[in-house]
C-alpha cells in the first residue's frame, strides 16, 4: 500500500547520499570556532540594530566580532576582553556628561570620554541638546594607528554596516539609515552596504572576516549565508521555537526579501524591510514600526502585547546580538549588565594591527546620538538625523594584557 511505496521509494536514494548522511559531523572545537558577527544598537525611541560595523583599512579593523563555540559559549579571551572594556567604560563614566558638549561641536573633532552610562542617563532628557544635525566621518588623518591607504583593504574609507532596521517609516525611515549621508536613499538594505552606499559582495568581505577570525584565534570555518526568505537558518534563528505554521506564514508574506541577521552558527545575512515587516506581522504586531525591541530593552515589553504569548515568541531577541535565544528579561539583564554596554549604542569588538599581525583586540564604541522625536520641531529645524557619531572610542587590550583607550575624533560636517 502506500506505506510500502514510501519505504520502497526511499530505497532508491543513492548509496553516496546514504553513507554521506552517516558521516561523522565535524564538531567545532575550540580551535575551530564559528565566527559570529553580532552587535546591537537599540536607540532610545526606535530601534536600529547595528549588526556589525567594520572600519576597513589597514590600520584598524572594526567590527562586531565575537567568537563562540557550537553551544554559543564564548571564547574566554574574547569574553575577558569584552569585560575589560566594559570595565573601562565604567571607569570612563566618572567623567560626567555636560549637556551641550556635543551640540557645540563645530567643524572638526569632538570631545570624548563620555561614558555610555552617563550618556544614557542624560540622553533621554536632553536629546535635542545632543544633536546638531551633523554627519560624522572617521578622521583617518588622525587615527591613533598607522594607516597606509596603499595597504588598505578594499574600500578603506568606508565603514561597512550591517544594519537591521526597524523603526518608524517617518521620520526615521529607511532613507535615513545612513548617518553619514543625508541624501542616502536606501530602498532596501543590501547585504553589505557601506555608508557610501557601496554594495559589498560577500566574496569581497570574506577575506576580511577571515582575518578577523584568524586574529581572534578562531579560524573562520562556519560562515553561512542566507540570501533569501527560504533559508531555514534565518527563519529558525529569527524565531527560535516559533511554530512551523507561523514560519510558513511569514515565508508567504516575505516574498523575495532578505534580512540581516546573525546567529551563533555564523553570519546569516538577509536584508529587507519588507522581510522585517512580515516578521513583525507574523508576530502579531500591528506594524513593524512598533519599536518593540526598544521597549523590550526598557523592560516594558508587555506594553506592546498583553499576551503572555509574547514572551514565548521573543527568542527573536537573539537578533539583537544575543548568542542564543533569550527571554526579554534575560536580554534586558544582559544589556543592563554592561555586557553589550548599557546604552543605546553598538559596542563593537575590533582588532588593531596590520596585514601581518593583529596586536590588540578591543571594542569599538560607536556613540549614537538618537533623536527620535518626530514632533520636535526644534530638532527638525536643526536637521537632526537619526543619530550622529561625534567620536569613536576604542578600548583594547594587547598581548600583555595592557589596556589602551583610543579616542578617534569624528569629522563633523554640517
Amino acid at each position: 500500500m502506500k506505506k510500502s511505496r514510501i519505504l520502497n521509494a526511499m530505497d532508491y536514494i543513492s548509496d553516496d547520499k546514504i553513507t554521506s548522511a552517516d558521516e561523522p559531523i565535524r564538531k567545532k572545537s575550540s580551535a575551530a570556532l564559528a565566527l559570529t558577527i553580532i552587535g546591537a544598537c537599540a536607540a532610545e525611541a526606535a530601534v536600529v540594530m547595528l549588526i556589525s560595523s567594520l572600519v576597513l583599512n589597514s590600520g584598524i579593523i572594526g567590527g562586531n566580532v565575537s567568537v563562540s563555540n557550537e553551544s554559543g559559549a564564548h571564547i574566554s579571551a574574547v569574553e575577558s576582553i569584552m569585560s575589560s572594556a566594559a570595565a573601562l567604560d565604567s571607569e570612563a563614566g566618572s567623567k560626567p556628561y555636560e549637556s551641550g558638549d556635543y551640540s557645540a561641536a563645530d567643524s572638526v573633532g569632538c570631545e570624548s570620554g563620555i561614558s555610555s552610562e552617563s550618556f544614557y542617563s542624560t540622553s533621554s532628557a536632553s536629546s535635542s541638546e545632543l544633536n546638531g544635525g551633523y554627519r560624522c566621518l572617521i578622521d583617518y588623518d588622525n587615527l591613533p594607528f598607522e594607516y597606509d591607504p596603499e595597504k588598505a583593504l578594499p574600500y578603506p574609507e568606508e565603514i561597512i554596516s550591517y544594519v537591521l532596521w526597524q523603526g518608524d517609516s517617518e521620520p526615521y525611515n529607511i532613507s535615513q539609515v545612513s548617518p553619514l549621508d543625508k541624501n542616502s536613499k536606501i530602498d532596501t538594505l543590501p547585504v553589505f552596504r557601506s555608508y557610501k552606499q557601496k554594495l559589498f559582495k560577500f566574496d569581497e568581505v570574506l577575506p576580511l572576516l577571515k582575518r578577523i577570525a584568524d586574529a581572534a584565534g578562531a579560524p573562520l570555518t562556519d560562515i553561512s549565508m542566507a540570501t533569501n526568505y527560504n533559508d531555514d537558518d534565518f527563519w529558525y534563528d529569527m524565531f527560535g521555537e516559533a511554530s512551523n505554521e507561523m514560519l510558513m506564514e511569514m515565508n508567504a508574506k516575505a516574498g523575495d526579501v532578505s534580512i540581516v541577521i546573525t546567529t551563533e552558527n555564523g553570519l546569516i545575512i538577509n536584508t529587507n524591510d519588507k522581510g522585517i515587516e512580515a516578521v513583525f506581522d507574523a508576530l502579531n504586531y500591528s506594524t513593524y514600526s512598533d519599536i518593540y525591541l526598544n521597549r523590550i530593552l526598557n523592560g516594558d515589553y508587555r506594553s506592546i502585547n498583553d499576551s503572555n504569548e509574547m514572551e514565548d515568541k521573543l527568542s527573536v531577541m537573539e537578533c539583537i546580538g544575543m548568542y542564543e535565544p533569550v527571554t526579554p528579561q534575560e536580554a534586558l539583564d544582559k544589556v543592563r549588565s554592561g555586557y553589550y554596554g548599557s546604552g543605546p549604542w553598538a559596542i563593537d569588538p575590533i582588532l588593531v594591527g596590520d596585514d601581518e599581525e593583529i596586536t590588540e583586540v578591543g571594542l569599538y564604541y560607536e556613540q549614537h546620538y538618537p533623536d527620535w522625536s518626530e514632533d520636535d520641531e526644534e530638532s527638525k529645524k536643526k536637521g537632526i538625523y537619526w543619530y550622529e557619531i561625534p567620536y569613536y572610542e576604542i578600548v583594547t587590550v594587547d598581548g600583555s594584557g595592557s589596556r589602551n583607550v583610543y579616542d578617534i575624533p569624528a569629522i563633523i560636517q554640517d
Binding site: K2, A9, D11, D15, T19
Partner: protein, 187 residues
C-alpha cells in the same frame, strides 16, 4: 582507511573467508543496530535482523561486488528490519517509523490513486531532488526518512534544536512536494 577495510571485507567474502563477517560485524554492528532499532522496538528482533543481515551479506557477495559496502549493508539491515516488521503487529512497530511514514504520506503519491507511477520513479525523483538541497538539509532528510532516526537524535547529531530539525524537515518536504509536481508525479 575505511574504504580499504571495506575492500578487504569484500575480498574476504569473495574468498569465502568467514572472517569477513566478523570484520563486517565489528565495523557495522553499531550502524546496523541503529537502523534496525529505528524500525523495530524489540531488542531480540533487532539482533536477529543483524544476524540475518550478515547472512545476506554472505549470500549476496559474491556475485555482488558493492562499491559502497556501508550503503550496501545499511540497505540490507533496513530491508530485513522492514520485512520483519511485516510480521509484527502494530504494537511492535516503531513509533518512529510510523511517524516518518505518516509524514511522507502527505506528499508522496498514493499508489491507489496514481498506480501508474512506480516506486522506482518516485525514488529516483526523490534522489534527484535531494541533489538540490544543501548538504546538511539533505542529510537530515535522509536521517529522518531513510535511517528513520528520531528528531531528537538528529538534533543532537547536528547540534541544533529539535524544533530546528522539524523546521528543516517541514520545509524540505514542502519543497519535495513541489518538486514531485514538477516531475509530473502527483499525489
Amino acid at each position: 582507511m575505511e574504504i580499504s577495510d571495506d575492500k578487504r571485507i569484500v575480498e574476504l567474502l569473495f574468498s569465502r573467508d568467514e572472517d569477513a563477517l566478523k570484520q563486517a560485524d565489528a565495523k557495522y554492528r553499531s550502524l546496523c543496530l541503529t537502523i534496525s532499532g529505528n524500525i523495530l522496538s524489540d531488542e531480540g528482533e533487532i539482533e536477529e535482523c543483524l544476524s540475518d543481515t550478515l547472512m545476506k551479506l554472505w549470500e549476496s557477495i559474491p556475485p555482488a561486488k558493492p562499491k559502497n559496502l556501508k550503503a550496501y549493508i545499511s540497505k540490507i539491515i533496513r530491508n530485513v528490519s522492514l520485512q520483519r516488521l511485516e510480521y509484527n503487529n502494530a504494537k511492535k512497530r516503531s513509533r518512529n517509523l510510523e511517524q516518518s511514514i505518516e509524514e511522507l504520506d502527505e506528499i508522496l503519491p498514493d499508489d491507489r490513486i496514481n498506480p501508474e507511477v512506480i516506486d522506482e520513479d518516485i525514488g529516483r525523483a526523490i534522489d534527484r531532488f535531494l541533489d538540490t538541497l544543501k548538504e546538511r538539509d539533505r542529510s537530515i532528510f535522509i536521517r529522518k526518512y531513510w535511517y528513520l532516526d528520531k528528531v531528537e537524535d538528529i538534533a543532537e547529531r547536528y547540534s541544533i534544536t529539535e524544533n530546528h530539525v522539524s523546521n528543516i524537515l517541514h520545509r524540505t518536504k514542502t519543497k519535495l512536494h513541489d518538486y514531485l509536481k514538477k516531475e509530473d508525479i502527483y499525489i
